[in-house]
């Protein structure tokens, strides 16, 4: 029989928790962007129409401003931000170019179904300097996508429309199943937006991009139902250690 002194007790496994997969994804993307030279700026989730729409060249007639798309609060005096872009406006009003900001966080749209939630997360970035071009924007987007999905992923740029960028593009990646999946929107900052922030659009130009975190997290983790992220089910959360 063995001498008991020789015996080590079983390994004491301390239970560790985990970061929420959406916050982890958001942090990963923001850390990547910080490594490129971007600085984090924050802004409120309850915003004014001026910062959420007007300053971003989203006109009164734009469908996004309708009550069926945007949550308004306190007798329409404010709204829940529909994107993280107002933070960029606040940043541009505070600092002079060259500037490179990112902001990440919760945004709200009046959707609630299997593929859309009224609350979701975005990360946005903006870089304003002299002679910033669409070709440089493409370079940045390639770097972001390759970091997220690997250097062998195929991507394409499609012309698109956002009131705050011109030219505007949407970027798709080719899935393993051969389907193009939309990953992010981007473009050169519309000179009207720069002027709204007292930046001389003849001297400076800027690039901007925005990513939906849930969509990327779903792709990376293989989650097919967006609602799983917000059930707070420990069986779900404990998988993301």
């Amino acid at each position: 029989m063995s001498v008991h002194k020789d015996i080590l007790p079983p390994e004491l496994i301390k239970d560790r928790g985990s970061l929420h997969p959406i916050n982890h994804m958001k942090d990963s993307i923001m850390n990547l962007l910080i490594s490129f030279g971007f600085e984090i700026v924050d802004g409120p989730e309850i915003e004014t129409e001026e910062f959420n729409f007007d300053m971003l060249n989203i006109k009164k007639s734009h469908p996004a401003r309708q009550m069926h798309d945007t949550f308004y609060v306190e007798n329409k005096s404010n709204l829940l931000r529909t994107h993280t872009s107002p933070v960029q406006i606040r940043g541009m009003l505070e600092k002079k170019p060259p500037l490179a900001f990112i902001s990440g966080g919760k945004v709200y749209r009046k959707d609630d179904d299997a593929t859309h939630l009224p609350m979701f997360h975005q990360v946005e970035g903006i870089y304003v300097d002299e002679n910033v071009s669409f070709a440089q924007l493409k370079d940045l987007i390639y770097k972001i996508i390759y970091s997220l999905f690997g250097g062998d992923v195929k991507l394409r740029f499609r012309p698109s429309y956002f009131p705050f960028t011109e030219p505007s593009a949407e970027v798709d990646i080719l899935s393993k199943e051969g389907k193009w999946l939309e990953i992010l929107g981007c473009g050169l900052v519309n000179p009207i937006v720069l002027e709204n922030c007292n930046i001389d659009s003849n001297k400076y130009s800027g690039l901007a991009f925005g990513l939906g975190i849930e969509r990327i997290a779903m792709l990376k983790h293989g989650v097919t139902d967006i609602r799983e992220f917000y059930k707070s089910n420990l069986d779900f959360l404990s998988q993301f250690k």
Binding site: H4, F36, I46, N78, A100, N131, L237, F240
Partner: protein, 634 residues
């Protein structure tokens, strides 16, 4: 919008294949799907000019030789005498009326008109409405047809001053609200401008004399109306995105031509009312600027050639924007035109180097706090802020999703209580959760606070040292002392009296401003590391679990490892997890007691006892093959 490939290609000299056209459309940014040689187009909202065959051809003309010269009626037209008053010129600055009388309603259509209905699977309605719909498809300009015999008095365009009942030509009764722009005749609304006409003034299969209205409406006046009144309207879709304010004469002459190809016209006259000239945008030619914006190097002649093909006038050192391109106003807009033509994917990348300064990351404290918590078994959650009223200071949502989500939460704890109960119902007996979020309240203005909230209940942990210890205030206070020794935290024991649960474990919660944590926390060295790769999620089961414990007595200590290896490595489709919950060495009796807990759960079905027993008995029989161990009682 559906556009038939055959309707496009008949105007393209090169006769490209459908796949070639499809590739070019994608390059230009016009997303679509193809079914039965029909392009189901999804245009971006700034490209209302593309919502027609001609509009799309204008864009494709940059790649192909496109013939857009449809035949029009070229004779001089008499001026129509119509009693019309425009009381809302700011909404409709430009409107034309055409009156047409034919001798007989045709009983069949020419091929091109017939094919429009056939190819797109559309139903014919009546002759004039059919021609109007076809013209809208071909030119992008919606027109509205009134049966002239049903318009007996003055026609007025105005905004209504009170709510009015209205029956659409599709037999739908709606109540129009004050300020809606309408056409009225004889004090009755006969057309909700840009959206749908009335039943009382609509054409029928017998209509031989028609008044056709061709208007430009400001998109702001039309937007949202079809959704509001639940009316499917191709016309409103076009007006919302902006139509060409200068196309009326050409469109109406084309309409006369189409009618004349189907019936003898007995009488035709036209009149236009224009209160304001459409602004003309002229942008100085500056190819260097275009090259700088895109990051390419094209010549001026190449630049102007592309624009010219897209319908821009490039004479005299200026780019003059055509009236149908209301979306183009700046060099950035023109750069997008060029980038589309070159192809976004063909623009070579240029190395980007953002100056790297040492930048302050003010989220470091929060990050440390999060890692401290996960190191001690806490899981981070994110909850929706939409709740029922939880405080007098809660901010009210004007347009909530439903009455249970009418306010913005003023605390995080309530959400965490819900999360705790959710997991208790799923048989979790060690629950530690936290959330960090902004919280808003309204008290003489909107106030924001960034908060941490934690909730914990049940076992401290599932390992053999913590399994039998319960979470309480003392445990959590000691934990938080580690990172904030100088701070006293006000942990609460939440009552279960009002909660829908029979579980008795204490619920401990804390909600605190993030500001309460000082930079001292930055010295904490985290144990957990972020995952090196993104794990593939394994779908979870919501079916009930069963637990089975086996306690072993071991005299031959050398067998402990063998037993652990066997049991912790035991594989079964219905075993969710296995852990050691008890370990005790009785030195006097030279005996070790070790307890294993098995959690059984299936992804497909609720397990019955015999399915569980089968695996359970196998575990026992396999483990008892190890000499020197026993299971007391067996």
């Amino acid at each position: 919008m559906k556009i038939a490939y055959s309707h496009l290609v008949r105007c393209i000299k090169e006769k490209p294949s459908i796949n070639n056209v499809s590739d070019r459309l994608f390059q230009l940014g016009h997303e679509h799907e193809i079914e039965n040689d029909i392009f189901d187009m999804e245009f971006t909202p700034n490209r209302g000019d593309c919502l027609s065959v001609n509009g799309l051809l204008r864009d494709l003309a940059v790649f192909y030789s496109v013939d857009l010269s449809q035949e029009i009626y070229t004779e001089k037209l008499d001026e129509l005498s119509i009693d019309f008053e425009n009381l809302a010129e700011s909404i409709c600055p430009n409107i034309s009326f055409l009156k047409l009388e034919i001798d007989q309603v045709p009983d069949s259509y020419k091929d091109y008109l017939d094919n429009y209905f056939l190819d797109l699977g559309l139903n014919k309605i009546n002759f004039f409405t059919d021609v109007s719909n076809y013209l809208s498809y071909e030119t992008g300009q919606p027109t509205h047809c009134y049966d002239a015999s049903k318009i007996s008095s003055k026609l007025v365009f105005h905004e209504i001053e009170r709510d009015e009942e209205f029956e659409t030509l599709l037999d739908k009764k709606i109540t129009l609200v004050k300020k809606n722009a309408v056409f009225s005749s004889n004090n009755e609304v006969i057309n909700l401008a840009g959206i749908v006409g009335s039943k009382s003034s609509s054409c029928s299969t017998d209509t031989k004399t028609v008044i056709i209205e061709c208007a430009f409406f400001q998109p702001e006046a039309i937007i949202g109306k079809s959704l509001k009144y639940d009316i499917q309207s191709e016309a409103s879709h076009k007006f919302e995105r902006g139509v060409d304010p200068e196309c009326h004469d050409n469109v109406l002459r084309r309409l006369i031509k189409v009618v004349s190809e189907h019936a003898n016209i007995k009488d035709v006259s036209i009149v236009s009312f224009k209160s304001k000239d459409n602004p003309i945008f002229r942008i100085p030619v500056n190819v260097q600027r275009i090259n700088q914006i895109i990051g390419i190097n094209i010549s001026e002649s190449e630049y102007l050639n592309y624009l010219s093909k897209l319908g821009f006038d490039t004479e005299g050192g200026f780019v003059t924007v055509p009236s149908f391109r209301s979306d183009v106003k700046t060099n950035n807009d023109l750069a997008e035109e060029i980038a589309r033509v070159v192809g976004y994917d063909n623009v070579a990348t240029l190395d980007i180097n953002i100056p790297k300064n040492k930048k302050l990351n003010h989220k470091d404290i929060e990050k440390k706090l999060r890692y401290f918590l996960i190191d001690h078994g806490f899981y981070e959650v994110i909850n929706s802020p939409f709740v029922n009223l939880d405080s007098d200071l809660a901010i009210k949502v004007d347009n909530p999703l439903d009455s249970n989500r009418e306010f913005i939460r003023t605390n995080l704890t309530n959400s965490l209580v819900e999360n705790l109960l959710f997991n208790e119902r799923r048989q979790k007996d060690s629950i530690k959760l936290f959330e960090i979020s902004d919280v808003y309240s309204s008290n003489n203005g909107i106030h924001k606070k960034r908060k941490l909230s934690i909730i914990a209940s049940g076992r401290v942990g599932l390992n053999y040292e913590e399994f039998s210890k319960k979470i309480n205030k003392k445990y959590l206070s000691a934990l938080f002392q580690k990172i904030s020794p100088n701070e006293i935290f006000d942990f609460n024991v939440l009552s279960r009296d009002l909660l829908d649960t029979k579980i008795k474990n204490e619920i401990i919660s804390l909600e605190v401003d993030i500001d309460k944590f000082s930079i001292d926390i930055l010295s904490y060295v985290e144990i957990s590391k972020p995952p090196v790769s993104f794990v593939q999620y394994n779908p979870i089961s919501d079916l009930p679990c069963s637990f089975k414990d086996i306690s072993y007595s071991i005299k031959d200590y050398s067998k402990i490892q063998e037993l652990q290896d066997l049991l912790l490595g035991y594989k079964s489709d219905i075993i969710k997890n296995i852990y050691i919950f008890d370990y005790f060495e009785n030195e006097k009796q030279e005996e070790i007691k070790i307890g294993f807990r098995f959690t059984f759960q299936s992804k497909e079905t609720t397990l019955n006892s015999s399915e569980i027993e089968l695996v359970y008995n196998d575990i026992i029989s396999e483990s008892l093959k190890i000499i020197g161990i026993s299971i007391p009682g067996i």
